[in-house]
Symmetry: C3
Subunit: 338 residues, 3 copies
């Protein structure tokens, strides 16, 4: 674990912020306002946290010009403290730096093209004709199938599974346990049971995509499943065959998108959302947590389904009435007519 320390002046320059305070003050960590100490850099991006400004022990704060008078310590003033915090987070990352080279226990197939600065971890298995571009990191225990291509500086954590014929862009991060390119769920009904439809398409993933732990993206039936540049996907998300996801769309944990659905650019899909197959969502659609999307959406905006939480004894009475809702409505209309 590398520990780094920076003087405030260095940080101000790096983060394009205006320094107010001691330029030589040493900062060795990022911290929340509540847990910060004299060598921590804190930040305030949400006015709800203003109450901590008087009590925080932070050695310096990332702060908006409008708030700077409310904090008397060292500060790095910037119009977007949250972006500055994100940029600072890269400086203080404790993630281990992978060793360049192919670990002796890794197994690499034939006819691969592997850049000289690639890191392949212990017990990883690389198939035949795989292309790994400059700066790629393959974690321990990963599997990369034949004919797959991984773009520059993309990093796979441990135990990622990539099937054959998959294309992944540059600067992506894939977390442990994610599976890219398993067969789409395609079967033709027969007189007795199901006949498998072999999934002949692949998966194409753009640049700057992050894919969470245990997330699955299936290969296409004939054409490819497609994830655009800048898409961010949380853990345990299921993306079925031939789904297409537009640029910079964000999908939170435990959501599922059924086959052949198209999602536009700059959408935000909250956690535990389900989206049925063969529909289309336009750009800038927001879906709230745990909603079911069962039809196409052609207008940007926020959409929801579900019922609010209640004490179970109250919920039970209301839920029972849901079963009578059509009847109740019909009777209300009848009363109105009288």
């Amino acid at each position: 674990m590398v520990k780094r320390s920076y003087q405030l002046l260095e940080l101000a320059q790096h983060l394009d912020a205006v320094l107010v305070g001691d330029p030589k003050h040493e900062i060795s960590a990022l911290a929340t306002l509540q847990n910060a100490n004299a060598h921590s850099l804190g930040f305030i991006a949400n006015p709800a946290y203003k109450k901590y400004l008087t009590s925080t022990q932070a050695g310096a704060l990332l702060i908006h010009p409008d708030l700077q008078d409310e904090f008397s310590g060292n500060k790095l003033v910037t119009t977007n403290p949250y972006i500055a915090y994100a940029r600072a987070s890269a400086l203080f990352s404790s993630a281990p730096v992978p060793t360049v080279g192919i670990h002796p226990t890794a197994v690499v197939g034939e006819n691969c093209v592997i850049a000289s600065d690639v890191s392949i971890g212990a017990n990883a298995v690389i198939g035949d004709a795989v292309i790994l571009a400059e700066g790629v990191v393959i974690g321990p225990g990963c599997y990369i199938g034949d004919d797959s291509l991984i773009g520059k500086n993309t990093r796979l954590a441990a135990n990622v599974s990539i099937y054959h014929g998959i294309t992944i862009g540059e600067n992506c991060i894939l977390h442990s346990g994610c599976v890219i390119g398993a067969d789409g769920f395609g079967f033709a009904p027969q007189a007795e049971g199901w006949l498998k439809i072999h999934q002949l398409g692949g998966v194409v993933i753009g640049n700057n995509v992050e894919i969470g732990a245990c997330t699955c993206i299936d290969r296409g039936a004939l054409d490819d499943t497609w994830i655009a540049d800048g898409v961010i996907i949380d853990n345990q998300v299921q993306i079925a065959h031939n789904v297409r996801i537009g640029k910079n769309t964000a999908i939170a944990g435990h959501s599922a998108i059924a086959g052949s659905t198209t999602i536009g650019a700059n959408c935000t899909i909250s956690g535990a959302v389900a989206i049925v197959g063969h529909i289309s969502l336009t750009d800038k659609v927001h879906i709230t947590a745990r909603s079911l999307v069962s039809a196409s959406i052609s207008e940007a905006g926020s959409y929801s389904s579900g019922t609010p939480l209640a004490q179970t004894k109250d919920w039970r009475k209301n839920a029972a009435r849901f079963r009578q809702l059509d009847s109740l409505a019909t009777r209300l209309i009848k009363l109105e007519r009288k």
Copy 2:
């Protein structure tokens, strides 16, 4: 990656279709009507795609007799184009053919019985007393626990985990990241916390079963968890201990079935469905997406729960009224009585 090419006459014979057109025309791929070229075989199984019949560039089409007059190119006429497409898909699969033999980096325990044509991938680990029948393929990085048995021609993709004492039938496909035989979630409440109930049962999986990526099937508490022949299960499905699933039932992605529930044969469970424990669903039950099944179902048919998607601002008003539903109904009844 193997590229294959077939003459139309060969395909017609293989697919039991009637050839209308050039018997020597070469076909090297399957494609959608929209993306087909002169060497692609297209198919039309859904009348909604009729509009593409005049513009498709497909070198030949799988087509129903009723539609054949609407397409002027080469055609393979069959009463079930979708089944013919599924059969053709096997011919054009680009999935790598696994190498027979035990990779030198694989680790195999004692007293195993491994057929001579089995393929065990790099860095796979096989426990003691494991039986792998003819034609079994174990992908790289898989783990098979002691005393487990895998039937003929069953294939495990990379990084599958099978615990001890598990039985898997013939011609099954298990996708990456799936876990078979982890402990069921069984604990006895104590004065302080929980006491683990060791899960002594196993998992028995029939023939021709497909199990998706990151799907989990837990071992039974005392008896076995049981999956019948022909069951197909998509990705990220959770099947708890002592669940029993009948023949040819299909379960789409992100569904969850709680402990000791029995599901009949020929059911179709859509995506993101949850089914509570200790209930029973008869044969031929269909559950729509994102439903919660909280009681047994004794009659075949289609079942649903949930509320429809709406713009969040409208949904919020209606959802708030859901909380008053019992009161509203009571007041409606009172008005009716007047």
Copy 3:
């Protein structure tokens, strides 16, 4: 697979039960009342199973004093037969006993502290400066990142992924495919797309915690994600960054908890529940299956959301009326005023 057999007297002593019957009767298995044979120990913890007391073939029963006159065979009488069953289950476990030592194919980094009786399975990969305490078992194919610490007697099944800087307590069980310490889903919105916020916190897991297959617990953004002693978590559960879960809380399969949410002690979260971020649940809260928790809960008790299952044709009518619910309520109020 070890087969064990016990005389009833031994079992009575071990389970603190009163023996009524033949002290030398041999018991070699636990079984349900329905499937028990002469050498099985059955149990009755639920009066619903009283009907099997006359027909069961069990060689002996764990039984409550109130019921003991209803069974004429050998019995072990105890005031808590379910706890006695749980304790007996440990005696009859068929789980393989791991071999002490580091498998020659495992890879261990530098500066690790590994107790002499630790078991590290084949093809496992251990990073640098990892601490594995007495009795730890690391399954085949597991990955443990740098600077992580695993407490006494904690066992990891095959193919578990632990990132760097993670702390896991004593006597925990982690099932296959689970991922501890992947990056939390933190991104700052930019003019164009998302800027990654590096996740600098870790994960701290207490003692006696069980974590199911394919469950993910993300590392914190700045502070740690925190799981207290005695928490039990089923399969495919998503626990986002900076979540805090109190002592002895149980979370059933396929549930998801969004970032920075705090859950109290002794809660029971049923299957497929979703809990939004930045809220707080007090102690002893019970959430029923498939509910969405979208606001803090400050009072212990049972909570629910959702609508009941119905035949799809009926459900459709009622669901359509849900869209009119606010309008219907307004109109009802108008009628009442007349």
